[in-house]
C-alpha cells in the first residue's frame, strides 16, 4: 500500500511542471503585472522549460514543450510555430549545458539561462521582423527578458524545494 502511494505521489509530482506549463499556456494567468508596475512582466514558461530540461529531463518531454508553444501561439495570436521554436531553443541550450557540465550551482544555471534567453529572443525577433507584419516594442521585450532573468533564482529555489519535497526517497 505504501509503495502504491509512493508511486502515485511520484507520478503526480512528475506531472506538476507539465501541468503548470500547459496551464500557463492555456490560461489567462498572466505573468504580467502592468497594473502593479507598468514594465513588470516575465516569461515563466521559459524558466520552467530551462530548469526542468537542465535538472531532470525525464519530467518535461520535448513534445510537451512543442505543444505548449503551439497553444501559446494560438492564445496570444502569434503565427503558429514561433513559440515552439523559442521554447525548443531554450530546451536545446539547457540540454547542451547539461551535457557539458558536471557541477550544478545556481550561478552557472543563471549565467547559462542568460545565453538561452538571448538566443530565444534573438530567434523570436528575427522571425517576427522578417516574416510577419506584427510591430514589436523592443523595450517591452527587453523588460520582459530582464525580469525573467531576475526572477530565475527565485523560481530555481522554489523548484529545488519542490524537487526535494516531492521526489524525496525516489532513488531509494
Amino acid at each position: 500500500m505504501a509503495i502504491i502511494f509512493k508511486n502515485f505521489k511520484l507520478k503526480l509530482a512528475s506531472l506538476g511542471p507539465i501541468i503548470l506549463l500547459y496551464f500557463l499556456s492555456f490560461s489567462e494567468l498572466d505573468t504580467q503585472f502592468s497594473n502593479v508596475f507598468e514594465i513588470l512582466s516575465f516569461n515563466l514558461q521559459l524558466i520552467i522549460i530551462y530548469y526542468w530540461m537542465l535538472r531532470d529531463q525525464t519530467i518535461l518531454g520535448n513534445g510537451h514543450v512543442f505543444f505548449a508553444g503551439i497553444i501559446n501561439d494560438v492564445v496570444m495570436g502569434l503565427p503558429l510555430g514561433i513559440s515552439p521554436l523559442t521554447y525548443l531553443t531554450v530546451s536545446f541550450v539547457a540540454l547542451y549545458v547539461r551535457n557539458v557540465t558536471v557541477n550544478i550551482s545556481l550561478m552557472t544555471d543563471w549565467f547559462t539561462f542568460l545565453i538561452a534567453l538571448f538566443f530565444s529572443n534573438l530567434l523570436f525577433l528575427i522571425l517576427i521582423n522578417n516574416f510577419t507584419d506584427l510591430p514589436l516594442s523592443y523595450s517591452d521585450i527587453f523588460y520582459n527578458s530582464f525580469f525573467t532573468m531576475i526572477f530565475y533564482p527565485g523560481f530555481w529555489l522554489i523548484f529545488n524545494l519542490y524537487k526535494s519535497i516531492m521526489f524525496r526517497g525516489a532513488n531509494v
Binding site: 512543442f66 494560438v74 515552439p84 525548443l88 506584427l134 516594442s137
Partner: protein
Amino acid sequence: MSSSRDDFSIAIRSALLQKGTRQKFSIFFLICLSILIFFLDSFPNKAMDISRSIINDLIYRISSVATSPMRFVDYSSKRVIYHFEIYDENKVLKEELKKLRSKELRVEYLQAQNKNFKEIIGSEFAYSSNNILGKVLLDKESPYLKSVIINKGSQSGIKKGMPVKDRDFLVGRIVETNFLSSRVLLLNDLNSRIPVTIGKSGVQAILTGKGKSKPELEYLPEAYLPENDLIVFTSGIDGIFKEGVAIGTTVIDENIASVKLYSDPNQLNIINVELKD
C-alpha cells in the same frame, strides 16, 4: 584542440538528437516541425486557414473552460468587495436620506429626475438588429498584443474589420474570425490606427495604439495642441467605422496628446459587434 572541438560537436549532436527515457521526439525533429508549421502559417493557403481556424476554436474553448475556476474566483472576490462597498454606500445613503426627508419638495424633484435617468439608462440597452452581442472568452494580456477573444464568429455573421463597441463606446475592431470565435484588436494595441475627430472643432487626427492604456493622437495639424477633456469621436473617413462614435477624452501630458478611453479595455465582458449592412 581537436579533442575539445570533438567534445563540443558531440555535446551539440547529443542535445539535438538525443531521446531520453521519456522523450519521444528529438529536439531536431521538433525544430524542423516548428519551422514547417511556421512557414505554412506565414504564407496564406486555404488548407492552413481552415486548420488554423479549427485549432483556434478548439484551443479557445479549452482555454475558456480551463480558466473558468480562476474567473469564478476573480468574480467572487469582486462581488465580495462590491458587497462591502455597497454596505458602506448604504450607510452614506441612509444619512443622506435623513437629510432628504426634511426637504420633501427636493425629494420629489430628485425622484422625478431619477425616473428620467432610469429611462435613459434603459434605452441604452436597446440595440438595433444590426448589432450582435458577444461575450469575452479570453483577455490574456501580452506585453506585445492587446486583444480579446469573443464567443461569436463567422457563423454569426462577423467579418474582419467590423467595429466593436462596449455600450456606445468604440473599443476596437475584428481582426480574426473563426467559425465560433473572433479576435478583437483593442484601440490600445500597437497595430491599431483609427481616424478620429476631436471635439467641436472637428480637427482630424489618427488615434494610434501604443500598447499602453491610453492611445495617442497623431498627425494633428501643425502647431495644434488639443486641450484636456475634449471628446474624441470616430471620423468615419476610412469607411470602416461610422462617424460620431465616442471613444474617449483628450489628456495632455508633456505635450503628448493621448486619449483616456471611455471603456476600459481591461474590464470588457459583454461587447457589441456592429454588423455591416
